[in-house]
């Protein structure tokens, strides 16, 4: 039995998408699980009523597993993390995350302001000892099986030590969420030779060789869609959040462009091809855990629809069930001082 707190006020389509996503999830998940909708109660109740009177009429039977938790402040998508961190202490993010600290919830899911979620998660849940930043990891579909790209947007200007931290976090994520044994880690660079790359990447390469991780060496941009290099499959690709973010957004946009191109060429309708690209659809992924915080905080796309939010809730549930957070803590502790200095 898990209790998942869901930010009802965050995301481009809040509160309707989170509320509908909660109803979808309650219908689909094992009935031992509960959802806590966090936000302004009047707004949530009205949205719930509308959903139950409309497309979600069949979901009223699940309401006994849905709880409303009051949070009076709303964080807008455009607000600066530094401003909301202290300025809106009763935001749905603060309140939703605080539930975990108080032992009242097991995970938090939001499609709201990502920077704010990172900052508030770090403040409220705190980081595991030895970490200097949390990281976002994302699945990239490949010709083989999905790979984990970490960091995919949280951090820029990363030190070599932080890149090693990302590798450790990504490896546990690949084990717990993707079920990979002894995950193979690649370091993104501009050539496979250890002496290729930026100063930080070259130093990270040397640190990773001594990290105890299953390090394959440098990988290149071309290895990501393939899911491996000519030295074998990879499970985790480590990079600075700047390049990770650029690649992720590029990947999300290139699929629809190629659908159009192929459809035009082959005389097919877009609809005939969309199915082939389903695994490139972020709503199928749902969300990504913020790695390194002492708890579960799932970051979902700002444009998440109800289905994406349901899938993000499932990611949160899987993180709870595999005890990923404890696993990360143990793994970091085992590796003592390695890769911990910022």
């Amino acid at each position: 039995m898990a209790r998942i707190a869901l930010d009802a006020m965050g995301g481009d389509f809040a509160p309707s998408a989170p509320v509908a996503g909660a109803l979808l999830a309650l219908g689909e998940l094992d009935h031992s699980h509960r959802i806590q909708l966090v936000g302004i109660p009047g707004v949530i109740r009205q949205t719930l009523d509308e959903a139950l009177a409309g497309a979600y009429a069949g979901h009223a039977q699940h309401l006994d597993r849905l709880e409303i938790v009051e949070a009076s402040d709303v964080i807008e998508m455009s607000e600066k993390p530094s401003a909301v961190l202290r300025g809106k202490p009763n935001s749905s993010m603060h309140v939703g995350l605080k539930l975990q600290v108080d032992g009242l919830s097991d995970a938090f899911v939001s499609s709201g302001n990502t920077g704010a979620q990172m900052a508030i998660s770090s403040l409220v849940l705190r980081l595991h000892p030895g970490l200097s930043r949390p990281a976002i990891s994302t699945f990239f579909p490949t010709a083989r099986q999905p790979i984990v790209v970490v960091d995919s947007g949280a951090n820029v200007d990363c030190s070599p030590q932080e890149l090693v931290q990302f590798a450790r976090l990504g490896a546990v994520y690949a084990e717990d969420i993707l079920g990979r044994t002894n995950p193979v880690v690649g370091l993104l660079s501009i050539g496979e030779e250890p002496e290729k790359g930026s100063a930080a990447v070259k130093e990270a390469h040397q640190l990773l060789r001594q990290s105890g991780l299953n390090f394959q060496g440098n990988v290149e941009g071309r290895d990501l869609p393939v899911g491996g290099s000519d030295r074998g499959p990879i499970d985790v690709v480590v990079c600075d959040g700047f390049v990770g973010n650029a690649l992720l957004k590029f990947y999300e946009a290139v699929a629809p462009m190629l659908i159009n191109m192929v459809a035009r060429h082959a005389g097919l309708s877009k609809e005939q091809l969309v199915g082939a690209f389903k695994q490139l659809d972020y709503s199928e992924q749902g969300g990504a855990p913020l790695l390194g915080v002492r708890g579960v905080s799932i970051i979902s796309h700002g444009k998440s629809n109800p289905r994406a939010i349901m899938n993000a809730i499932k990611v949160g549930l899987r993180a709870v069930e595999t005890r990923m957070n404890d696993h990360i803590g143990r793994r970091l502790a085992e590796n003592g001082q390695q890769g911990t200095a910022a």
Copy 2:
């Protein structure tokens, strides 16, 4: 009338691919142009004989516009640029580039060791005043028209001033090679707000606003396949060579992966779909000029086939005909001290 020097010894398929590419180009280009095959004469002659006895039998008529220029050293694909820079003074790269300095040639094209070509081009041709590094710009096909990504692999750990230099070089390239008027420049970052990005990118943003360039602001990974942001089309995307190289290699690999995925889904053969991806095929691009050197040095893919080499020769020809190099020199001089300090 232009004289194009072609490295007969560089590339994974040398000397056969460059020799065949030269024959293809001689047949297709205006007959006022000449090609200079640079390398070991005996090897070149034997390869020519084989080509003319085989698939290129019809091309013997063009031999009067083909010259062989002797160069005794061969640079291997795996050699370090620093080692060959001084250690192989009679390489086909040195000799081929020196022809321009001596007024005997107008452009140099190679599919050999890229790092060596950059280093030797910078040494032999020298850089325009005020530049600290040359840059590689590459076309990215988009849903609109192709965009120029600069730097796409030559330089890592770039300063804000170098990013501004790349923008100036890329803008002239877009004007001369793509025919764009007053090209729109975007700076790749992780969000469109000026305060998003790495330290170097944030400072470059401020410098670009005062650069006199047609600067649209930050763009994101998703804007590349689209060919623009929601603020309009873009012509040039500026980035560090690390992220440019990662994106380029990712793009080259993702198309074949998607072809397979779509073909499987739609029950089509790969061959039925390949045509749709033709514009993603690097052999259609041929090559990219090394920007910033005082001359023309075209970098072609190491795996170039004869067709790719012919297209690289065409890129060189266009750079000669538009006088792109003089244009770059003038533009940099006009902008005086702006963006010149490294």
